[in-house]
């Protein structure tokens, strides 16, 4: 399988690359997307709480940090996907994978700081759901994954991610609408917990 990772900046991304390579896949990272004619699996690895993104409302909101985080954690992955769609269209697999966190979900967010990260990833969730609705009829499938960075070793999280990204989810050819999990837009974490929005 031809796999494209947007960047190898994080320990998780490096471990994920190694995991894919050890399974015999051809991995490209951060290269000029236009050189790739086919991508089977696309992984946007941008997932970082930026320096300075540690203020509460009592400390004072730093809008420039929030917008910088938006550019890194939300806009960059979406623009990378936009640039990769020609190569993904040429694949029969067409799977796109993104990283996020339970901390960016309204239901379960218990944080008082990290506005930049949480708001950027919350925005990403919704942008991806619309994009999923747009691309699923063309045969695309999507994975949204919380690597639980800082909680699990990167190698363990990368192993679980590779499993989640590469394996199929339930598909019932006789009842495609109701019994195909590929039709569900969902966030799973590295412990295989389904996270509520």
């Amino acid at each position: 399988m031809k796999i494209y990772l947007t960047s190898l900046e994080s320990a998780f991304a490096k471990a994920l690359k190694n995991e894919f390579v050890s399974r015999g896949h051809e991995v490209f990272a951060g290269e000029d997307l236009q050189k790739l004619s086919v991508i089977d699996l696309f992984v946007a690895t941008e997932n970082k709480r930026l320096d300075g993104d540690d203020f509460t409302v009592n400390d004072g909101i730093k809008p420039e940090i929030v917008l910088e985080s938006l550019r890194y954690n939300m806009i960059a992955p979406i623009k990378a996907l936009e640039a990769a769609t020609n190569a993904l269209d040429a694949s029969e697999i067409k799977r796109v994978c993104f990283l996020s966190s339970h901390k960016a979900c309204v239901t379960g967010c218990e944080e008082t700081s990290g506005y930049g990260y949480n708001m950027a990833k919350a925005a990403l969730h919704q942008a991806l759901h619309l994009t999923f609705n747009r691309l699923r009829p063309e045969g695309y499938t999507m994975r949204l994954y919380d690597p639980l960075e800082g909680e699990l070793p990167a190698e363990v999280s990368a192993f679980t991610a590779a499993e989640f990204f590469l394996r199929s989810r339930s598909y019932d050819p006789d009842n495609k609408e109701n019994r195909s999990d590929e039709h569900n837009f969902a966030l799973y974490d590295a412990k295989n917990r389904h996270i509520s929005w």
Binding site: T56, V57, N58, G60, I61, P63, V66, L67, L70, R71, M74, I75, I78, K79, L81, E82, T85, A104, C105, V106, T107, C109, E110, E111, T112, S113, G114, Y115, N118, M119, A120, A122, A123, L124, H125, Q126, A127, H129, L130, T131, N133, R134, L135, F185, S196, W197
Partner: protein
């Protein structure tokens, strides 16, 4: 004196909410932003003593700071904050495989106005809100903020900014609930857009008029509940609860 500050009050829902709070006896600070709208001036003639239009561009930190100063010159407290100001956006350019490339600057602008705007208003108004008795923060969100129920496949700019707003409100609650602050997230329904002359655009998909949505919001915005300190929910103009 009960006091409220309402953003995005030049027209539509914001203006209708100003009218509702005036009728409830509040002194209302009404955020104005649109230069070609004078409906607040007309309302000021009806309520010369208790309506105070203030210049307020929620995208600008300097503007919010200036508005807070203007309010502080008239009152030492705010009971209620209502965030209504929003940026809907222009052409179809926030869609993967759309006809136009995604415009990053407009994605930033949507978050800057629709999510950061409300967040910075709360932060900057906190000294006044802490002195208020009600400590009620009402945030107008949208049905398109719901990730669970998102069925569209078009532009995501406005939708994603409202989802970001919801998580920001949750984080505000995580910090401020212990001080007695309570929150409302409101889904006002789709309304016709108000024009400078006060008329409304024709729109067949309209669900509710701004005046009726404001009337529906008031019991939600003014209610007291035993679970207020713990729960955050997105409630629509019918009183129904939306999943996040």
């Amino acid at each position: 004196m009960k006091t409220a500050l309402i953003t995005g009050a030049d027209r539509g829902l914001g203006l209708a909410l100003v009218r509702e709070y005036l009728n409830l006896g509040y002194t209302v600070f009404a955020g104005r932003f649109l230069a070609d709208f004078h409906l607040l001036d007309d309302l000021k003639k009806e309520w010369p003593d208790t309506l105070h239009p203030v210049q307020l561009d929620v995208e600008s930190r300097a503007s919010i700071l200036a508005a807070a100063q203007e309010v502080a010159a008239i009152t030492d407290h705010l009971d209620v904050f209502v965030s209504d100001a929003a940026y809907m956006g222009g052409p179809e350019n926030s869609r993967v495989k759309g006809e136009m490339p995604i415009d990053e600057s407009l994605l930033e602008k949507a978050v800057a106005v629709n999510a950061l705007g409300a967040l910075q208003c709360v932060e900057i108004l906190l000294p006044l809100l802490r002195k208020g008795e009600e400590k009620r923060l009402c945030i107008v969100s949208s049905e398109v903020s719901s990730v669970t129920l998102m069925q569209r496949d078009g532009d995501f700019r406005y939708c994603m900014s409202k989802t970001a707003l919801n998580v920001a409100v949750r984080m505000l609650q995580n910090t401020l609930a212990s001080e007695g602050f309570t929150f409302r997230l409101y889904q006002p329904g789709w309304m016709r857009r108000q024009q400078p002359d006060g008329s409304f655009t024709q729109w067949n998909d309209c669900q509710i008029n701004a005046a009726d949505s404001a009337k529906a919001a008031i019991p939600i915005f003014t209610s007291r509940r035993p679970d207020d300190a713990y729960k955050l929910e997105l409630v629509d103009y019918l009183g129904s609860v939306w999943p996040f």
